[in-house]
């Protein structure tokens, strides 16, 4: 399942819904991304997440579909927030449920790695020197490229 929203999410509740009624699930792996108060040497007071409505949902759905093709998953979830977020706030939740843990781990890792380089989001950090667009990181490209085949 895919959700793109400005509202916060409740991780415990979302993970519960992911497994509800399915007694075949033995493993749930999740990743939560949070706003940090430091980026490099600068303190960050807030971050504004811009996205491309429509394309975001499409890309996330494609990424999720790819994960289900590659791994035997019972269910999965991607929730990504947009708008103004402060340090400590949730940004993204990715979760995968499977019978066995290797599938759940690999698929969850894949989802966040691919999301980072494909989902059309952009971060504007509020620093003491003003707004600053976060630049894409080479290490994210490398992490994503691992999953290419």
């Amino acid at each position: 399942m895919i959700r793109v929203q400005s509202a916060d999410f409740d991780v415990g509740l979302e993970l519960k819904k992911l497994t509800e009624g399915n007694r075949q699930i033995g493993a749930v792996t999740s990743f939560v991304g949070l706003v940090r108060d430091i980026a490099g040497k600068d303190s960050i007071s807030a971050m504004v997440l811009e996205h491309y409505p429509g394309m975001t949902e499409k890309q996330l759905a494609d990424i999720e579909y790819e994960a289900h093709k590659r791994w035997d998953l019972n269910s999965s979830l991607i929730i990504h927030r947009y708008g103004r977020l402060e340090p400590g706030d949730n940004i993204v939740l990715v979760a995968c449920a499977s019978s066995h843990r290797e599938n759940a781990f690999d698929a969850c890792h894949f989802l966040i790695d691919w999301l980072k380089t494909r989902a059309p989001f952009w971060k504007l950090e509020e620093t003491p020197e003003g707004g600053r667009w976060v630049e894409a990181k080479t290490k994210d490209d490398l992490a994503s490229a691992r999953w290419e085949k």
Binding site: E50, G54, M55, H80, T117, P120, F121, L124
Partner: protein, 83 residues
């Protein structure tokens, strides 16, 4: 044709998008960018280095040689930084 701009490209262009009607001889993204640039200085500056610009046509990533058609939704944005 519907253009969309995001992040610093949106800020630089001063608008989040525009409806355009380029000449019929514009067949692909490359031609479209050249046409956008020659319109005014801001456009020219924004698209001066397209190595930092990603392109989507109808919400799918495309390369610079991808064809463009009337009615397309064409988006220009920096490398993404979500997650």
């Amino acid at each position: 044709m519907n253009l969309l701009y995001f992040a610093w490209i949106r800020v630089k262009m001063g608008v989040s998008g525009e409806q355009i009607d380029p000449p019929k001889n514009i067949k692909d993204i490359k031609g479209l960018i050249d046409w956008i640039k020659q319109r005014n200085q801001i456009s020219n500056e924004t698209f001066s280095d397209i190595s930092n610009i990603r392109i989507a046509v109808n919400q799918e990533y495309v390369d610079i040689d991808h064809p463009v058609l009337a009615g397309d939704e064409i988006a220009f944005f920096p490398p993404v930084t979500g997650g």
